[in-house]
Subunit: 216 residues, 2 copies
DNA sequence: TGTACATCAGTGAACGCGCGTTCACTGATGTAC
DNA sequence: TGTACATCAGTGAACGCGCGTTCACTGATGTAC
């Protein structure tokens, strides 16, 4: 029983939960936000929803399936963070600046998500299986984090900044860069002062981006 | 009791263990190699050494201290892997090629260690406190992974490939790149065929390195 | 060299804990007639 | 519209497990004299 009684539980006391599956996932996401994948504990999820521990087995085969569902939700949230940076940036006059600007925006969205939601970020990459419906890990644009990066790389190619045959290597490098930076800032570099974080992110995105484009 | 009786336990049956602390750390490292940090379980460590579970408390304040010790050993092993790549590469005629070659060698040593010892790699970055004696996480050269990277960056500067004031940003970018690539190859990219891994590593190291050096 | 004794590295048993999962069940829901 | 009944989403209790840690102890070691 939480500190605030849930209206539908006090008023109606419905025997059948409205949408228990959704409620379980939401509680599990909250646990992931608080403590990462290992904090997703089936009994605690049930406790928070106000249901007996075994009720979850009506909706999931077991803990691993619930964990995967949360991971996919984490990837979707990551995609939305990347989309938010794309929307927030100011468009550039020429095509080349525009393409680089978009690439850096998705990268910044990636790292910022990791820093603002470390538990969910860690959980997003702890999935054990791919989702059956790919739309489970997709942002508002319908693209996954992967798809958003690819779109940005296509922009680089279209602007003549990168040969098409380097796309795959560039994708791996960009992903590795932002993922590694996120991990470092949450781990070994966790005690750099918050004020220094943004410049570090910008510098790193600059150096990574510089490596991807063909020198003129 | 293992499948092979330990000689010193069957022959001499010494009451006091020769060097229990060292034996505990070795067993814990082995567990980390097999399953990462969460596989380091105090009771299992004691079981493998052939000692009662509480005996470990004569040498460690508790599980966290043992875990940190294994993490530092992992960092030392990482440093040695980087040193091995430095030693294995073929020296280059001119100073600039030599500097880039050394930088890529330490990067390759980093990623190869992660791929060959994933459990120990994960454990190396799960420490909760810094070692009191810094030589706990140092390779044969006396340098830590961090120190080896810095040495390589100094080489880049000395060769005139990079302005000194970019050193810090370059270090973060290089570290992020190899760390991220390691993480991806062990996670989301875990099912790229082993034959394709080396080319991917080389391409990524190439693109990261290209971003660090000043364009001419 | 021999003996008394403090030190300390181990033992054995037990503690409380919380977990994921299973069992047999109960009571609400909604459909067929 | 009313009733019988199958369905199914939940309950409550229990399971076995292994964990980290603590307790009072014991027996070997090594030093002082």
């Amino acid at each position: 029983m939480g500190i605030v009684a849930k209206p539908e539980l006090t008023k109606n006391v419905p025997y059948h939960h409205g949408n228990l599956r959704r409620a379980l996932v939401e509680a599990a996401v909250e646990l992931a936000r608080e403590g990462g994948p290992s904090a997703i504990v089936l009994r605690e999820v049930a406790r928070r929803v106000g249901v007996s521990p075994n009720a979850a087995y009506r909706h999931f085969s077991g803990l691993p399936e619930l964990l995967d569902t949360v991971a996919w939700a984490g990837l979707a949230a990551l995609a939305r963070s990347m989309e938010a940076e794309l929307a927030a940036r100011s468009p550039q006059p020429d095509a080349q600046s525009e393409a680089m600007n978009r690439l850096r925006a998705v990268g910044r969205g990636y790292v910022r998500f990791a820093l603002s939601e470390p538990g969910l970020f860690a959980t997003a990459f702890s999935y054990g299986s791919e989702p059956e419906e790919p739309e489970a890990c997709v942002g508002d644009s319908g693209l996954s984090p992967d798809g958003l990066l690819n779109e940005a790389l296509d922009g680089l190619i279209a602007a003549g900044l990168m040969p098409a045959e380097e796309k795959m290597a560039a994708g791996t490098t960009a992903w590795a860069g932002v993922h590694g930076l996120s991990t470092l800032l949450l781990g070994p570099l966790a005690d750099v002062p918050p004020a220094e974080r943004e410049p570090i992110i910008d510098e790193t995105l600059f150096l990574i981006g510089r490596g991807l484009v063909t020198r003129s």
